[in-house]
């Protein structure tokens, strides 16, 4: 990874490699399907062969019966894991059981569902680590309903992802 040495000129490429990279969702995106689809705009570029710490904030609304399903999708060959901290899918109110579940991998096959509550605004916190392979690309948030329902599962504007390179 880029390193800052005393007395050395700091190149833009060095700073870019060290500074956090973020993505933010500009407008609400609702889903009425259980198939996860990219939340357009909520993605962050990643370079090849790099290790990143991932954090994220996902404000959302979803019906009690529908819930929200999330996935983090990275470039081909990426490894690592991520977890979500939010209300559990069995909850029916804004207080109750939570989930601290974690999955290994960054494809649409690895999803985590969190609880929605009718007419309530909730949020999920994401943390994780992604190791990219020789393929660069993006790390993107995908979402869908956990269970098919007539009311959309909506990720709200302002949701963000933040990546920091932590190669040692």
């Amino acid at each position: 990874m880029a390193e800052i040495r005393a007395g050395a000129r700091i190149k833009a490429s060095t700073f870019n490699a060290l500074a956090p990279v973020t993505g933010r969702l500009a407008s609400d995106i609702g889903r009425t399907s259980t198939t996860t689809v990219a939340a357009t705009g909520l993605s962050v570029p990643v370079v090849a062969s790099a290790l990143y710490a991932v954090t994220g904030y996902v404000p959302f609304s979803a019906p009690t019966a529908g819930d929200l399903k999330l996935a983090l999708v990275g470039p081909t060959g990426a490894t690592g894991h991520w977890g979500v901290m939010a209300m559990a899918t069995n909850t029916t109110g804004v207080t109750g059981d939570v989930t601290c579940s974690r999955v290994v991998g960054f494809t649409t096959a690895q999803t985590l569902s969190v609880g929605g509550v009718d007419s309530e605004e909730l949020h999920a916190t994401l943390m994780g680590t992604i190791q990219t392979s020789t393929t660069a690309g993006t790390l993107a948030l995908y979402h869908a309903q956990g269970t098919s329902n007539g009311t959309a599962a909506t990720v709200k504007s302002g949701a963000w992802l933040r990546l920091v390179r932590i190669d040692t």
């Binding site: 800052i4 040495r5 005393a6 007395g7 050395a8 700091i10 700073f15 060290l18 500074a19 290790l51 710490a53 954090t55 690592g80 894991h81 977890g83 901290m85 559990a88 899918t89 069995n90 059981d97 939570v98 989930t99 601290c100 579940s101 974690r102 999955v103 290994v104 916190t125 943390m127 994780g128 680590t129 190791q131 920091v164 932590i166 040692t168």
Partner: protein
């Protein structure tokens, strides 16, 4: 650190404006032990007379009978507090369940321990804290063990990380 307009930032200032990370690069397994062991990589060097903010993504897999015990140690004379958000080991559901938001504070939080739930599925916990060092620099180190000594393994997963950001020099 604040950079004055038109000034040339020093490398040291730029470096200190960025967070430091400690990363666990291999799974670390603990069996039949409630004695905490330092997790290789989950440590960051602190300077004396500085205040830091830290956070940790601790990914783990623990047997439901064993659960997880963690401890954070700081340099001598350091003060601060740390908090954990995780599933409580007191809940029997062990995948989703009761949440615990726990805070340890005092003149020297080193040595205090937090207990979290194990599960058949991978879990994680979030740790947040602050540490102000005194006359000694040293290491902020995360250690782990089982809550209950059990032959089945408790594993801190590779790629867990500890992030430390300097807030100010004291």
């Amino acid at each position: 650190v604040a950079f004055a307009a038109n000034s040339t930032p020093r490398g040291r200032d730029l470096r200190e404006s960025l967070p430091q990370f400690g990363v666990c690069l291999q799974d670390y397994t603990i069996q039949s032990s409630i004695d905490v062991e330092p997790i290789p990589g989950l440590s960051v060097i602190l300077e004396p007379h500085c205040s830091y903010a830290f956070s940790c993504y601790l990914a783990y897999l623990a047997n439901t009978a064993a659960d997880l015990r963690i401890q954070i140690d700081s340099p001598d004379l350091a003060a601060g507090s740390w908090a954990v958000q995780a599933l409580t080991y007191l809940d029997t559901n062990k995948i989703t369940g009761e949440f615990v938001s726990w805070l340890q504070e005092g003149p020297n939080p080193a040595g205090s321990q937090f207990l979290a739930s194990g599960s058949a599925s991978p879990l994680w916990e979030r740790i947040t804290g602050t540490c102000s060092t005194g006359g000694y620099g040293g290491t902020l180190q995360l250690s782990a063990a089982q809550r209950v000594s059990t032959a089945a393994a408790t594993t801190v997963a590779a790629y867990s990380w500890l992030e430390v950001t300097k807030i100010e020099e004291l």
